[in-house]
Amino acid sequence: MIAETGLAALWLAAGLAAVQFLLMIVALRSGTEVARTMRSIAVIQGALALVAFATLLIVFARSDMSVALVFENSSVVKPFLYKVAGAWGNHEGSMLMWVTILAVAGAFLALLAHRTSERTLLAALGAQALLALGFYAFLLFASNPFARMWPAPPDGQGLNPLLQDPGLAFHPPTLYLGYVGLSVAFSLAVGALLTGEVDSRLARAMRPWVLAAWVLLTLGITAGSYWAYYELGWGGYWFWDPVENASLMPWLAATALLHSINVLAARGALKAWTMMLAVIAFSMSMVGTFLVRSGILTSVHAFAIDPERGTFLLALLAIYVGAAFTLFALRGASLKEGAPFELVSRESGLVINNLILSVILGVVFVGTLYPLFVEAVSGEKLSVGAPYFNAVAGPLALLLAALVGIGPLLAWRRERRPVFKQLIVPALLGLTALAITIILAPHMRILPRLGVALAGYLAAASVLPLVARKPLRAPLATWGMVVAHLGIAVALVGMASNAAFTSEKLAIVNPGEVLNVGPWQVQLESVTPVAGKNWTAIEAQLRATRGSGIITLAPQTRYFSDPPTETNESAIATFWNGQLYTVVGRQDVSGAWQLRLWWKPFVTLIWFGGALIALGGALALLGRLWLLLRRRSSDAEWRKERYA
């Protein structure tokens, strides 16, 4: 019964989405009398989607094997957390989660948005409903998560053990919230293009959504990178895997949007530009979903292959992106360009930021899709990997990092002051960092060396906007910007240090023997068998000493029975100046064990930097929301006084 409740809720939600879309047409033609109805429909539709998703969680939590999806992706012996997380660790469940977030975001838009004109809001709600409708149809006709099996089998087929990890249980929801948060920016842009009301009010309404989505995407990407680092046992943090690129592309577009939206909000300029970016950002989310969910790319994140679903998703993508671009082509040209600005100004700085981000996005997009394109056209199979992305996107990213120090110092509209004077101290710091790397590490390669130098400069330059005024008086949004830009410098140091100073050791050792890696002596004490709820493993006991410090580590190789799989569970010890990363392999014929050890100085700064970037976004979001609340209450007071 529970599964049927979910299915019914899904059908009802789809019906309401259709009504909501039709009401938009009415609203645009004959005025906004239907506003109240439309808002309530959006809220109910969101609630129904939530009900459908909750029922899926329940059938997974209870291991109801009569539901085909549970049978295929779960098993009775799994730990409870992974039973529940298994609900979105598969195709149907994750698409249901996607559409649920889309509908709930629509509901919040209906409840919270008071800053745009009513007509634009209604148009945006209609666009959001149309988006949801396509994905409801996809679920109901091509990927029903509630399909039953008869008779119900006693146990399921299990979940890919790689996905049985607390990090991964929360990774997809975070990314999806980010992806789908951008749908609101998309809908608001489409709504504003329909009504022609592209102005700074719209930008202020859109900004919190973009900020929130961007923070979640940043967190999702950072967490995903750390997950790949410790779970895959290769010691790398970014693989330029198509699935990773699928989350990077919306992030790049959202980052550009985040900056240009400030120009629209503050100066009323870059109207068409910002609308275009809002359309592109969510289009990239859909491209990402298509790449991951259609099975068109089989990567380390193994997903099912089903051509019918791929075609359906591709059709949805083509319709939505095509319609938005057509609308943009029709309306974009008639938008009046806002306040003018000079060549040297904050606006220009943000335009340059946007241009570089767009070029990086284009490069990643082409590199990710090129193999598909070639295979479709000529049948030839090839892959594009790290050498391409590092060589082409790497220098662009460094160039952008260099400019990040300058942009925030520029004044709006026109900069006449000698701004470069302020940058003398940061530039000297960068040169000092460069000199230190030349003295201490003469054999460093060029990119890591540049990275360290740039990070030294950027760390100092990024705090200048706070130095210029009283730091405690600065708005929260300025603090957010400073923290996020500082985060870039921090992450750069981590990446450069990891690339240049990692030491690695791979050898076979008998119990009692010692290996040296970096400053560490690592002794293999013993190897013992251990067992978990649904796995058995061999576990190595390692004793690592550095000077007087002693720690123990216990890496494992785990064997899962359903599905039969093996994973290397690395053991990592974290210190302020780096991580000791250990993996145990198999036993040699002589009885010795394979050990792989890494000492990675300052590698944690990569994710710490990512977290700082997200924190910066969160601060900016808080600042904007706080201003919003204060302004609203002062408006209310003003009204009270006026009418009292």
């Binding site: 530009w273 360009e337 490069v363 594009v384 662009l396």
Partner: protein, 146 residues
């Protein structure tokens, strides 16, 4: 700047960015795209010595041998038409077996493929797209050994 000129400049800048992205990507792809090779490609001399690439195929039966240091293995990757010897230093995953598919990342040195990473990892269902057809042939009972 006049608003109208400003818009013109912005449109030109946007177009320049798109053009730059495409040109940069094409430049990058020219050297680095044909990054996936089969043993037949290598036998035909398509792959350059020392260039980073991926090698894909089946691990030939009876070809895995361990070197004295205990962590280096030698094996032969075949696609039914040609063979490439591979040298790998590292911990091989359990699912890396003779007769099953594998993708190795590394470079070609004097006719031997020196691998840094072996991607046939973790999941028995995992199959790189480039190997999809090979695996299907394999499953259909066509043997790859001569």
């Amino acid at each position: 700047m006049k608003p109208k000129n400003q818009r013109l400049v912005l449109v030109a800048a946007a177009l320049a960015a798109v053009l730059a992205a495409v040109l940069l990507a094409m430049w990058g792809l020219r050297d680095r795209a044909s990054y996936f090779y089969t043993p037949a490609d290598i036998a035909a001399g398509k792959a350059q010595q020392g260039q980073a690439m991926r090698l894909g195929g089946m691990v030939e039966q009876g070809s895995i041998s361990h070197l004295a240091d205990g962590v280096t293995i030698r094996f032969v990757v075949t696609d039914g038409k040609a063979n490439t010897p591979v040298l790998y230093r590292g911990i091989v995953p359990d699912l890396f077996r003779e007769g099953s598919g594998a993708v190795a990342e590394g470079r070609l040195e004097n006719g031997t493929f020196v691998a840094d990473t072996i991607l046939a990892k973790h999941d028995e269902r995992y199959m790189p797209p480039q190997l999809g057809n090979l695996a299907a042939e394999h499953k259909a009972g066509k043997t790859l050994e001569k």
